[in-house]
Symmetry: C2
Subunit: 272 residues, 2 copies
DNA sequence: GACAGGTCAATTGTTGGACCATAGAAAAAG
DNA sequence: CTTTTTCTATGGTCCAACAATTGACCTGTC
C-alpha cells in the first residue's frame, strides 16, 4: 500500500528476485511489524461480520462444527476456539445433543455489564471516573423514567422503596443491596436497556467500592431514603426535569459521602 | 461414572435401588434443572476471578498451557478454549515462542468499544436509545474537558477543528470522518477514558447510522462547524457549564436532523 | 569488542483421530 | 392416546503428535 518502490507497481518488473536489489533500503520503507493472525481469529472475525451484518437473525443456526471444519479446512479445535470467542462475546450460544448446535444470540444486559466490569477492574479505573460517568447517566435515567414509566414501573418502584425504608434501620449490607435494587428498578422504568445497563453497571462498581469502605452509616441511610422519596415523587408526577435535578443532587451527595469514607478507610489502613 | 449398578461400589450399600423409594416425591422438591457447566467455562471463571482480584498485576505471567493441563487435569484443548475466552474479553494476551506464554493484560478502549458495538448491533438498539445515551454522556464529556483540558488537548482540538472546517465544503463522508475525530479529541480532553470510550462508542454507532441515511447536507455541515466553534470556545475559556449546555444543544440538533434524514430515507425505501 | 549469523529449546499453533455425553426425534410398546 | 425405548446427529473431552514461533545463547569473523 505504502510501498516506496514504484517499480513494483504496474510495469511488471521481475518481482521477488533472490538477489537483493540496490534499493533494498527503499523497499524496507513502510514495512511494519508483520502480524500473522491465528486461524481461529480469522474464522471468528468472518463469522462475527456475518452475524452482525443482520443477515443472521437471532436464533438462526450456524453450520455445525464439523461442517465448518470441512468448509474452512481448519481443524475442529481451531473451529471450536473461534466459536468460544464469539460465545464469550455473547454473539452465539451452543447446545449439545442432536438438533443442538450453535445459534446466533443477542448479547444480554449481563454480557455488557460484565464487559464493563472487566474493563473497570482490569484497568483499575479510579472511583472519581466512575462518579463522573454515573453523574452523566443516572440523571438521564431518571429523566426518561419520569417521561416513560408505566403503572407497572410505579408499582415496582413503590414496593422496592418500601423495602428500602425498612432496611434503613437494619444491616448496612442489606440496605446497600436494596439500594442497588432500587436503582435497577429505576433503570427499567427508563425503558432504554442500553442506558439502564450502563448506569446499573457503573452503579454496581461503586456499590462494590462502598462495601469495602463501610460508609453506610445510619445517618447516610436516612438521607438516601429521603432523597429517593423525593425522586420517586418527581417520577410519579411525570416531571422529568425535576427528577433529573433531584437525582443529580443525590448522586453528588452519594459520591461525596463515599469519597469521604474511602479516604477515611485509607487513613485507617495506613495506621496499621 | 454414572453407572446405575451400585454393586460396583465397594461399600455395598444398596444405593440407587431401581425401585423408587416412598419419599421420592419429597426428594424431588427443590430440584431444579441440573446444569452441567463446561470444563473450559469453569477454568475460565477461576482464572478470571484470580486475574480480577488484583493478585495478578498487568504483565504477570499465567502458567503455561501444559502446566495448566497438569494442574487441572483437563485436556490441553479445554485449557486453550478457556484462555481464548479470556483473550476475547481482553483480560489476557498470548505470545508464541520460547519465553512467550499467556500474560495478564488490561482491556483496551477498543475492547470496550467493540463490546458495546456488539451489544448495540446484536440487539438492534434503536436510534432513539443511542441518542438518549449520547445526550447523557457527551455534555458531561465537554464539561470535564473544559475543566481538565491541557495545552496539548487545546492544540489538538484546534487542529482538528481547522480540518473539519476545510472538509465542510467537500465530501460528506470525509466530513463525517473528521467530525468523529473531533469528538474523539474532545473525549481525550476529558481525561476520563471510561467516559470517553463510552461516548465515542455511541457516537460511532450513530455515525454508522448516519452513513446509511445521507443527511450531512451542506447546511447541516455548516451548522455543525459553527456549533463546534462555540463549544471549543467554551472549553478554551474553561467554562464547564457553558460547554455542557452548548454540547447538549448540539447533540439535540444533530439527533433531530439525523432522525429526520432517517425517516426520509425510510420513505424513499418504501417508494421502491 | 562488535556484529552477523546459526543453533537451541520452550512455548504456543494446529492437526487428526477417537470416544463420551447429550438431547431431541422417532419408533415401539402399553 | 400416553409412555417408554431406541436411535443418532451434535457438541464435549481427551490424547498424541508435529509445525511454527521466538528469544536466548553460542560462534565465528572482522
Amino acid at each position: 500500500m505504502t510501498t516506496a518502490d514504484s517499480s513494483l507497481e504496474p510495469g511488471l518488473p521481475p518481482i521477488g528476485q533472490p538477489l537483493p536489489s540496490p534499493q533494498v533500503g527503499a523497499m524496507l520503507e513502510g514495512l511494519t511489524r508483520l502480524k500473522v493472525p491465528k486461524s481461529s481469529d480469522v474464522l471468528a472475525d468472518r463469522l462475527r461480520r456475518e452475524i452482525l451484518s443482520d443477515a443472521y437473525p437471532p436464533g438462526a443456526s450456524l453450520p455445525t462444527e464439523r461442517e465448518l471444519v470441512s468448509a474452512t479446512g481448519l481443524s475442529r479445535g481451531s473451529v471450536r476456539e473461534a466459536l468460544r470467542m464469539l460465545e464469550a462475546q455473547g454473539l452465539v450460544s451452543t447446545r449439545a445433543g442432536r438438533y443442538g448446535g450453535t445459534t446466533v444470540s443477542q448479547p444480554t444486559d449481563d454480557h455488557l455489564a460484565n464487559h464493563i466490569s472487566h474493563y473497570a477492574k482490569g484497568r483499575s479505573v479510579p472511583l472519581q471516573s466512575l462518579v463522573d460517568v454515573r453523574l452523566a447517566l443516572e440523571p438521564m435515567v431518571a429523566f426518561l423514567a419520569a417521561e416513560r414509566r408505566t403503572e407497572a414501573d410505579l408499582i415496582s418502584l413503590r414496593a422496592i422503596s418500601a423495602r428500602l425504608d425498612k432496611s434503613a434501620d437494619s444491616d448496612p449490607a442489606v440496605f446497600l443491596e436494596e439500594n442497588a435494587n432500587w436503582h435497577d428498578a429505576l433503570a427499567a422504568a427508563s425503558h432504554n436497556p442500553l442506558l439502564g445497563t450502563l448506569a446499573t453497571s457503573v452503579g454496581v462498581l461503586m456499590f462494590e467500592a462502598s462495601q469495602l469502605a463501610n460508609f453506610a452509616t445510619a445517618e447516610v441511610r436516612q438521607r438516601v431514603c429521603r432523597a429517593h422519596h423525593r425522586i420517586l415523587e418527581a417520577i410519579e408526577l411525570g416531571d422529568a426535569e425535576l427528577a433529573r435535578r433531584r437525582v443529580e443532587r443525590d448522586v453528588q451527595a452519594y459520591a461525596l459521602a463515599l469519597e469521604a469514607a474511602v479516604t477515611a478507610s485509607n487513613w485507617a489502613r495506613q495506621a496499621d
